[in-house]
């Protein structure tokens, strides 16, 4: 999947695209979707609520695990994607188009320079995967969406 070049990416695997009017559209990356796999539910805030950069604003539940959604910006929510709430499968097909999660009116102090561009994000993922492989001597689920709740080996028989 080609990641949009106009988007900025966070280390917690959210993307944000800012329009000329200062409106930000936020979603999660194809990498996050692939790592979580089998996404079955999203918890999203309501329009009108405020977001703080680096702070959780919702959660994404897959069959096996749950991960926080972390805001890449400061601002106020102006729209929530009802379609993706009802049908999270959209995320597996179109994480950057119909799978957007929320639209945000940016606050003055929103700081997007701390986020990565598409190339930097790809390098970030690769180095993270290499680190995991070195640590575990093999490919692994760990280090996926965030370190909030890793896959628990006791979940399986």
């Amino acid at each position: 999947m080609i990641r949009p070049s106009e988007a900025k990416y966070s280390e917690t695997h959210e993307w944000v695209i800012v329009s000329k009017k200062g409106e930000a559209t936020i979603g999660i990356t194809d990498y996050a979707v692939k790592q979580l796999s089998d996404i079955v539910h999203l918890e999203l805030p309501k329009a009108g609520e405020s977001l703080e950069q680096g702070t959780p604003f919702g959660e994404v539940e897959s069959v096996k695990t749950v991960a926080d959604l972390v805001s890449p910006v400061n601002g106020k929510i102006i729209a929530v994607n009802k379609e993706v709430l009802e049908n999270p499968d959209i995320l597996h097909e179109e994480p950057y188009e119909d799978g957007w999660l929320i639209k945000v009116k940016l606050a003055e102090k929103s700081e997007l320079d701390s986020l990565m561009n598409a190339k930097e994000y790809q390098e970030f993922i690769e180095s993270a995967e290499e680190a995991v492989e070195e640590k575990e001597d093999g490919p692994s689920q760990k280090g996926s969406k965030d370190d909030d709740e890793d896959i628990d080996e006791d979940d399986f028989v």
Binding site: S37, D38, V40, H41, E43, E59, E61, V63, K64, V66, E136, G138, P139, S140, Q141, I151, D152, E153, D154, D155, F156, V157
Partner: protein, 363 residues
């Protein structure tokens, strides 16, 4: 550790996770897709990480009766039984399947991968005074399962064996491909019809690939530990470390059927007799969530505003398309229909106790 089929999993693009020291496939195409394949067609599982232990020797039956909750003395040749090892307190050391092979004067025990070393040590300590040999065959044998409504056809087509007449929870020795040392049992951990196949480790890949290649057109897919967990949860089959452990007795987990209190004495019997007389202090129940957030192992369960217990397993049920869970709760809160609340990351979500299992295969 790696099973003899590890290379097949990697080639198939499986996501590999560490499971109690074993590099095992979590999923291939996706948990939900693999789950539905087993419910509607068939799935192929590598279970070679599970412990397999042979018990032989003149005192085999006396020893097994000492350590098992089922009567080894009356088990007929070719039967499989679900049973427990217990502590003196009646809590669960492990749950296992016993294969009684009278013809060869031996029994096969299939134990949890997570408990294999503990079980070997525990059996060794309780074998004092018995003329018995305890032999760990885990690395010599592979274990492959075919599960799902089309399992019989799958085995017929791919391995040219016709197991349709086998009764549930029986096993037989049968030639598979070019090995005469295979054992086939009609057992499983999914709530569907299915079979488990024991073959020498060096033949594992040949059997695995024969089934996969010759049955893909029937819709058979390889299935990882992720779907194995959703399948067994829907079928309300216990998982060691969650529904049962060394702080829970079989009576508390609703598994009385695998405990024969009237058989010759066994470790833990006295404690269970007392508990049967005095009553249990917790019970295992199943529940549906009203909403969409998913309960997980270890979360607190509340009833009437007070904490009543702990979630043992929770997942999204692909068959029911909703979150489900099991929990240990106080007996006064265990009736079907009781309203529970599950504390999901600080927010209490409503749930209702329902009968178990969540899913039952159609006859």
């Amino acid at each position: 550790m790696k099973t003899p089929l590890y290379g097949e999993h990697v080639r198939a693009g499986a996501k590999i996770v560490d499971f109690h020291g074993w590099d095992m496939p979590l999923q291939y195409s996706g948990i939900v897709e693999e789950h539905h394949a087993v419910r509607t067609r068939a799935g192929l599982f590598d279970l070679s990480h599970m412990g397999r232990v042979w018990i032989t020797g003149p005192d085999r039956k006396a020893f097994l009766n000492r350590v098992l909750t089922v009567d080894a003395g009356v088990m007929k040749h070719g039967r499989c039984r679900y049973a427990f090892f217990l502590t003196e307190r009646g809590t669960v050391v492990d749950d296992l399947l016993v294969y009684e092979d009278t013809a060869r004067d031996r029994a096969l025990l299939v134990v949890n991968a997570s408990n294999r070393e503990k079980d070997l040590d525990w059996m060794g300590r309780h074998a004092t005074g018995f003329q018995v040999r305890i032999e760990d065959a885990t690395s010599r044998m592979s274990l492959i399962a075919v599960q799902g409504p089309s399992s019989v056809n799958t085995l017929k087509r791919s391995l040219d064996i016709a197991p349709g007449d086998m009764k549930y929870y029986t096993f037989t020795e049968c030639p598979i491909l070019d090995t005469n040392q295979a054992i086939l049992s009609r057992t499983g951990y999914t709530g569907e019809d299915g079979f488990e196949i024991f073959v020498p480790a060096e033949r594992a890949s040949a059997v695995w690939n024969a089934i996969l290649r010759r049955s893909a057109s029937d819709g058979l897919v390889p299935v990882g530990l992720g779907a194995r967990d959703t399948l067994r949860t829907e079928a309300a089959m216990p998982l060691y470390g969650q529904e049962i452990d060394e702080s829970t007795t079989p009576l508390e987990a609703g598994l009385d059927f695998a405990v024969a209190l009237d058989k010759p004495d066994f470790i833990g019997r006295a404690a269970l007799q007392t508990q049967r007389k005095d009553g249990v202090s917790k019970k295992l129940v199943g529940f549906h969530m009203a909403g969409k957030r998913i309960p997980r192992h270890g979360m607190d369960a509340f009833a009437e505003g007070v904490k009543t217990g702990i979630v043992t397993s929770g997942t999204f049920s692909p068959s029911l398309s909703r979150p489900i869970g099991m929990a240990h709760v106080r007996p006064e809160h265990a009736a079907v229909g009781t309203a529970l609340e599950i504390d999901i990351r600080g927010r209490r979500e409503p749930a209702t106790i329902v009968p178990l299992p969540f899913y039952r295969k159609s006859k």
